[in-house]
């Protein structure tokens, strides 16, 4: 039994089904027909404000659950349905680095993971092979990859200026690893990217990978069963209780794999009285600043996947001389469409009134941005709890986010803002705007069911088994011990493949 059909649930389903086990996955949302994505319609930007809004409290689709966000400066950004948040993502696909798993040993801060990069490496490679990754081997900031790469995405004028600026500053940059096909895969019925831009409203070409298009067809072909519009209410020993429509059902299971994200999984464990003290604690985001440069010349920013061009890991390794510990990544963002431009994107909305048209003309097509993605430390007081008053449509208590930005992360973001400003000025920006903490950047929920050997301070062991319920396995981002400073999906899926492989061996050996 798997709960959740997003990136990690799909990966686990594939492994378990390939092992010949009976697999049933329950997903609270339905299938999204990406072949009919809003980007085919003239009013496509309306979707970003409505049915594809990143915040479930604003989107309010029947499959969504409310999230109480009164006590956090970083607000939820997620999607529900077959594919989960990969339906709404930008597909930037970096790996964590070996040192990210040994922060305590190497740098004396954070925690060590109970597994190493080398333990995940073969699973990373399989993730890349199934997903289809555009990029280029040889990045000096990262270990060599074994998995093949399709040719990198084009940079376009804005990121090309940034690349030259990074070179002049003597800083690292490299073309993004992107979960986007640049060469068609006929066997998977996936076409090559045509650089339309808004990956976040779905990809009618299936070029941008998402779990529903890149993973579920394989898992279903291997024999997995997927039940949509099935919302799990509670985990019990040997079964789960769930709603399908108005009907309460029970599904017996030898093993239960939780893949409902680092927000949904602790919610279920808390509602079920499982996991112990650490459940929901140590919530880590990737605190993000965005720095946007305006240029005199047009940069064609609407062309190409908005989140995938290049990144810089010049400041990702620990260097206490910088005034903070651990590090951050900078990632280029292309421009947006007209509505997004008018609404400011990650910046302040453009002014209304007589100055509006001039402001729009100076901005639209003339911007390129850098994100600063900071490593967030594990803090037991940053957490997901169950709200006492708010429930979803089936009566399950809503998750409540309680989060404070760490002082080290703030210092790190400020360092990154200064460096990104320097890079944009070097690239020729005539004006630079700063959003010092993106409120809508709650897209990575990590650490809330973290791995460890000690049940008093962790929720799962190194095989992702819940300490006080070893038949329950967690495979989503909640198991992260530290957050690293890169987008987590490849790591989440590598962990899911590994945990599912270990689970399959136990189930087939009769030891689970």
């Amino acid at each position: 039994m798997i709960v959740g059909a997003g990136a990690s649930g799909a990966a686990a389903a594939l492994v378990l089904a390939e092992a010949g086990l009976r697999v049933v996955c329950l997903e609270q949302g339905g299938w999204l027909d990406q072949r009919a994505a809003p980007s085919l319609e003239a009013g496509w930007e309306r979707a970003l404000q409505t049915t594809f809004h990143i915040n479930p409290n604003i989107r309010r689709l029947p499959s969504d659950y409310p999230v109480v966000e009164a006590d956090t400066p970083i607000h939820p950004a997620l999607y529900t349905g077959v594919g989960g948040s990969t339906l709404r993502w930008g597909a930037h696909f970096p790996r964590m680095r070996p040192a990210d798993f040994r922060a305590r040993t190497l740098d004396g801060v954070g925690e060590d993971w109970p597994l190493a990069y080398q333990d995940l490496e073969p699973f990373y490679d399989r993730v890349d092979e199934i997903t289809g990754v555009a990029g280029l081997h040889g990045d000096p900031a990262n270990p060599p990859r074994q998995a093949a790469r399709q040719r990198p995405l084009p940079l376009g004028p804005g990121p090309t200026r940034l690349a030259a600026a990074f070179d002049r500053l003597g800083w690292h940059w490299w073309p993004s690893d992107a979960a986007v096909l640049t060469e068609a895969r006929a066997a998977d019925q996936r076409s090559a990217c045509n650089l339309c831009g808004p990956c976040g409203v779905g990809c009618p070409l299936h070029a941008r990978a998402s779990a529903d298009t890149a993973w579920w067809p394989r898992a279903l072909a291997a024999g997995a069963e997927l039940r949509t519009h099935a919302r799990v209410l509670r985990i019990e020993r040997g079964r789960v209780l769930y709603m399908r429509g108005a009907e309460l059902r029970a599904q017996p299971a030898r093993a239960i794999v939780l893949a409902a994200s680092g927000l949904g999984t602790p919610r279920l464990l808390l509602a079920s009285g499982l996991g112990g003290w650490a459940t929901g604690r140590h919530l880590m985001h990737h605190p993000t600043a965005v720095i946007t440069g305006l240029f005199e010349e047009s940069l064609d920013g609407h062309k190409g996947p908005f989140a995938c061009a290049l990144y810089s890991q010049e400041f990702i390794e620990d260097d206490p001389a910088r005034g903070f510990r651990r590090g951050y990544q900078m990632q280029a963002l292309r421009g947006g469409g007209p509505v997004q431009t008018a609404l400011g994107g990650y910046m302040a909305r453009l002014p209304w009134g007589r100055g509006h048209h001039a402001a729009f003309k100076a901005t639209f097509g003339h911007s390129v941005s850098l994100t600063v993605t900071a490593e967030d430390p594990p803090d037991a007081e940053n957490r997901v709890t169950l709200d006492a008053a708010v429930t979803d449509s089936d009566g399950l208590p809503a998750p409540r986010l309680s989060y404070r930005l760490d002082a080290n992360a703030r210092t790190m973001l400020d360092h990154g803002i200064a460096r990104a400003t320097e890079a944009l000025r070097e690239a020729g920006a005539t004006r630079v705007m700063v959003n010092p903490l993106v409120a809508a950047a709650g897209f990575h929920f990590l650490g809330t069911t973290r791995m460890g050997a000690d049940p008093r301070s962790s929720v799962v062991d190194d095989a992702c088994r819940v300490h006080d319920a070893p038949e329950v396995v967690v495979v989503d981002g909640g198991v992260f011990v530290t957050a690293g400073a890169v987008n987590p999906t490849p790591t989440i899926q590598a962990i899911a493949l590994r945990a599912a492989t270990l689970l399959a061996a136990r189930l087939k050996g009769g030891t689970a």
Partner: protein
């Protein structure tokens, strides 16, 4: 006769030599009314708003924005959304910027392929990731 909502939209997004005024565009007033439920804001406008000069209308809206920031923001978002998805506005956009007045798909766009010679400097750098 100009309605209060049309006058409000003309104040948010006024016309000029290139751009049409928002309140004059077919369907925009109705779309904003449906998206933003602006009746309470409209009720708070001063008498004669619809026939006042541009400066007076702008001053009235600044006061309204200060008094009702959340509702006013919803209205502005709805106005920008309706305006920039409207066909005549997209035609202006194409004429002024070259941004094609058609949806991103199915045509997509073209860019020159990635030029690996850009990495000449980076390829000279020794690996700097830490093994662990």
């Amino acid at each position: 006769m100009t309605t209060p909502l049309a006058a409000l939209l003309d104040t948010l997004l006024p016309g000029d030599a290139d751009w049409p005024a928002a309140g004059t565009l077919e369907g925009v007033v109705e779309q904003v009314a449906a998206d933003a439920a602006p009746a309470p804001l409209l009720a708070a406008l001063p008498a004669g708003f619809a026939t006042a000069d541009a400066e007076s209308r702008e001053a009235a809206l600044r006061a309204l924005e200060a008094a009702e920031p959340a509702a006013f923001e919803r209205l502005v978002v709805a106005a920008y959304l309706a305006y920039y998805t409207h066909d005549p506005v997209r035609a202006v956009l194409e004429r002024l910027t070259g941004y094609a007045a058609h949806p991103p798909q199915p045509l997509g766009y073209e860019l020159p392929p990635f030029d690996e010679s850009l990495l000449e400097t980076q390829r000279k750098r020794a690996p700097f990731w830490r093994d662990a």
